[in-house]
Symmetry: C2
Subunit: 434 residues, 2 copies
């Protein structure tokens, strides 16, 4: 790329060279995220494929091999295809990934996801031979899907551009929400096909519904306008009323009232449709991400070119310079940033002053970006703290994940506080008690 070719001009340390280097560094990072967008897209597709495969495998096993035999085979073939695309996306970003010095977490999580994917073939053989139970199969697929989502989470954590970080945070929460939806489909299928929801299953359904809700809230907060609207219309669609009706069976009906097993197919079809629609929202975010990346990249390249011209002009005052130089660098709102418009009167006599202006403007701009980035990073941090609080509760009280979530929610309700606040308090207390 042109970036690496230009690098060697800079070896003499000067303010101008480092100003340009700072801009190039941003450019390089945007290039990296353009490719990261493709990787995230391939993960979103692969996760969707695995979710479909998980659903089909469960029904296949649950029906004693009578249903979904063919569908499962087709879906396996599709997933294999998506796995290949994922590996290709990974190979394309490989160079950048492995030279990015802060991405050792990301790389470790990719290793973990790949390891899971490598064991898929063995899992499928056992499913085909009906050598596994429905819960075991669901669990295996879910673990793998969770690892793939974690890769997107870690990618979001390495973003330094606030608008890109926001979209990745939105994406992670949407993927998480869709996965809770997938788990709800599985839990509901068990209930409807066996004809009853015991209290553990009802509780699980309630937990999964609430967890989806929270993910979608965070999503709407961080997504672009259009994708946010898309999710809102999905949640306002008439299908949701039917989903709600069936959920009420699952959550409200006691364990002694048998259900019509006919509901099972209806539920599965309805929830599958819902997940396909959620997938479309993911695609909308991906498009926004790609568009935003390309836009920021074009801006940054333009702005770098402007800086190079300006600095060349400042260094050679004998050259003719237009009387007013305007750095056309729109900020997020599309307006020209103040502080980047300046008069060239000073060039020649006071070239130092003008380079000073450029240096100051770059520092201010980066400072503003840091502050904007913070809210997106806070959302990721909150999720981490909540997961840590849940793990703590699981370990200390010897309860399962769902119950730990419930304890946390109850604590928040009892204390009239927000969930992240209670989670943080719990984690900090645990550190003290350790």
């Amino acid at each position: 790329m042109d970036i690496s070719k230009r690098r060697h001009n800079l070896v003499q340390p000067s303010a101008e060279a480092y100003l340009i280097a700072s801009r190039r560094c941003e450019l390089m990072n945007l290039q990296y995220f353009l490719q990261m967008g493709k990787l995230v897209q391939s993960i979103s597709n692969l996760v969707h494929g695995l979710q479909r495969e998980r659903g089909a495998s469960s029904i296949f096993l649950g029906s004693g091999g009578e249903k979904f035999g063919l569908e499962r085979k087709t879906m396996v073939a599709e997933s294999e295809c998506l796995y290949t695309v994922f590996k290709r996306a990974l190979a394309e970003i490989h160079e950048e990934l492995t030279t990015h010095p802060v991405s050792s977490h990301l790389l470790a999580h990719i290793a973990s996801a790949l390891h899971g994917l490598e064991s898929l073939t063995a899992l499928r053989v056992r499913v085909k031979a009906r050598a596994l139970s429905v819960p075991e199969t669901t669990e295996s697929y879910s673990t793998l899907i969770q690892r793939l989502i974690t890769v997107v989470f870690e990618a979001a954590d390495t973003a330094v551009d606030p608008s890109l970080a926001r979209l990745l945070v939105a994406m992670v929460h949407l993927m998480k929400g869709k996965e809770f939806c997938g788990q709800e489909r599985a839990a509901g299928s068990v209930g409807f096909s066996t004809g009853r929801f015991d209290s553990a299953l009802s509780r699980r359904m309630t937990h999964l519904v609430e967890a989806q809700g929270r993910c979608f809230e965070v999503f709407v907060e961080f997504a672009d306008e259009q994708s946010g609207q898309l999710l809102k219309s999905l949640l306002a669609h008439e299908r949701e009323q039917e989903v709600e009706r069936l959920r009420r069976f699952g959550c409200a009906i006691g364990r002694y009232k048998p259900l019509d097993p006919e509901h099972a197919d209806h539920w599965f079809a309805l929830m599958s449709e819902r997940m396909d629609e959620l997938k479309k929202v993911e695609e909308s975010v991906e498009n926004s991400f790609h568009g935003r990346c390309a836009e920021r990249y074009a801006d940054a390249r333009n702005s770098l070119a402007h800086h190079e011209v300006l600095i060349a002009a400042l260094e050679q005052p004998e050259n003719s310079v237009p009387s007013m130089l305007v750095l056309c660098e729109p900020d997020n709102s599309g307006q020209i940033q103040s502080g980047e418009v300046w008069n060239s009167d000073g060039i020649g006599q006071q070239s130092g002053r003008s380079i000073f202006d450029l240096v100051q403007a770059q520092s201010r701009r980066l400072q503003q970006m840091s502050e904007d980035l913070q809210s997106a990073k806070d959302a990721l941090e909150e999720r981490k703290v909540q997961e840590k609080a849940v793990l703590l509760l699981m370990r200390h009280r010897k309860i399962n994940n769902d119950d730990a979530h419930r304890v946390l929610r109850k604590l928040a309700m009892d204390q009239g506080k927000k969930l992240p606040e209670v989670a943080r308090a719990l984690v900090s207390m645990a550190d003290v008690l350790k």
Copy 2:
């Protein structure tokens, strides 16, 4: 380096390859910080030189050119020399700096520091011609020194290894504290040489003494044991009593009681000696940093080599493998980490399981490192928030920096809260009111 040569083995995405890549990424980053240590050292030396030059220039100007003429010239020559060393350190790390995608802030601040350094020659010409006042000169040098310290601050912010981040946080606070000491020397010199401290000057002295105290507190919290002890013995030295005695003149005596101007030379000599001693503490931190970097680097290289051997063994189960493989990777406390000791019984039949263990161990290790890193990053974040709160107060109340610090301290005292807490509350309120 051997790292880049090995990179091309990894193009086929597999869990093993990414596990190794994650380790290599850590190694690369440690290599970067080994060089960063040299840059920080050259900045510490350059700042010390500029502080000496600032002191000599002030006395030269204050005495109407009678005193410190020769000393100033020698110090200018020394600073020039240190500037060259700094530029060399910068050139050596240049490649890594400009390809590190998250360092655009760091690069922008280096640009800003270099720009200040480039204007030094012009400043010196004006000092020599006695065309500047003492406050103007002090201000120019102080701005430049502040920019150099900010480079170290930003370097600390890019550290991902917790033990290295802690030492850099300690270093930044020590450098800041030493600079407050330098400013106190300047303020005291003005008071003693004019024979009086007006109330503004007394307030400034009080502020600078308190600011030093807070910096040294944070330093002791984050420094290595030995450097922390070194600072403590410095602060317990008998020189401190003499400094205190002179400070009391400055802070306590009213504006109408003239002082013996003889105190001026004594004060300057005493404070200069104090700064030279603080410089030695900086050198101790630098040594610890270098030692820690080299140690972590050797560990990481060893551990990478072990992983490579292990993974090769796992991939070729026909090779003979010792019956118990122990990854000798001591953690911070020097103990072998659990989870990295595992039995090789599984190799062959269950090689997947063993690679899974390695992958899990790497994830856990990185997770622990993230958590340890947090407290160091928090100290940096607190400093940022305090500086933001001070800026807010300056802008809203139209007061100067010292007064803003005082308002903040008073708020904290009145509310019985800690300074960072009050600063955070102020900043968050300002966001709401904006």
